[in-house]
Symmetry: C2
Subunit: 158 residues, 2 copies
DNA sequence: CCCATATTGTTAATCTAGTAAACAGTTTAT
DNA sequence: ATAAACTGTTTACTAGATTAACAATATGGG
């Protein structure tokens, strides 16, 4: 019964695969692209720069002063328990203050400091530079299209 | 010097913000979209289904039988140390086998089992269904465009 | 051949991001 | 007044990933 060997190995049959299944999935390509952009963000902002989520939080606090922590968590799409450390870091760096609100003694309104506003301005410029450099092979039109399509994915939720 | 109060609070000045800075950044929108798709993937594949990365690994093993662990890690863009647990899980479920290669006693070639191939077929169908449902508000053209643009981001690296 | 260098799979330690559950204090609604 | 809901917080936990080290093995140069 020499014909029953099941472990025949055809060695290099990669040539049989025209296009890998994975490339057909949006989720896979989305993740790969996200990992690249996120890694470059960190590289660009450096050792003592902001992590992406801290930058995002600061951005919203600067643009929505007096936002509440729960509100900020909702905007970011994370749990409010997870926001505590982020706000701690920003407050520790002197970029925002937790302030109490007259009408409601539960909430802590988040107010950017002057330093927070100027530091955010610099960080935003650094992030813009990082994206411009990393995505240099996309035209402005392509970037706009990409944003619109990503927005459509987000619009499907809520 | 009554004019030096720095803590004036304008309360609801959200109306001053036309469009939040964050929305201008590709990285932010990429992450938000990725989180949505990834969460739906897990929901769709259920409790004992595959995590995205395990599905990806199985996909590549089925399509590139006899791929080596190092090779697979390179394809997935992760460290080979991180791949061990993934391959352990797939082997534990009886979906692939680690086999030794005649020429080189270091490597473990990964070969899908028959069960592995059929289970992968079903999983792939489930993933396709999940993406079709989740991304129903994108046309085929839009999906193709999105894939192409994500591919361009990946092409920037390598 | 010998020796330095590199590669493979693996383990262990560590880090980050994030969730879930519980909580005390406070507010809102019935 | 009492129940329900909300806010910020802590704690415990999970998933994903990286780094460094290691033994076994392979490769290339003298």
């Amino acid at each position: 019964m020499a014909s029953l060997r099941k472990t025949d190995r055809h060695a290099e049959d990669e040539t049989l695969v025209e296009t890998p299944d994975l490339e057909e999935f949006i989720g896979y390509n989305l993740k790969r692209a996200y990992v690249i952009v996120q890694a470059d963000f960190r590289r660009a902002l450096g050792e003592d720069g902001f992590a992406p989520r801290v930058f995002s939080a600061l951005s919203l606090v600067v643009q929505y002063p007096n936002v509440t922590q729960s509100g900020l968590a909702r905007m970011l799409g994370i749990e409010r328990s997870g926001l505590v450390a982020i706000v701690d870091e920003l407050e520790g760096r002197g970029l925002l203050k937790r302030t109490n609100v007259p009408g409601d003694r539960r909430v802590q309104a988040l107010v950017p400091t002057d330093k927070g506003k100027s530091v955010y301005g610099e960080a935003r410029a650094a992030v813009r530079a990082h994206e411009d450099r990393l995505l240099a092979n996309l035209s402005l039109d392509e970037k706009a299209t990409l944003m619109a399509l990503l927005g459509k994915i987000r619009a499907g939720e809520e």
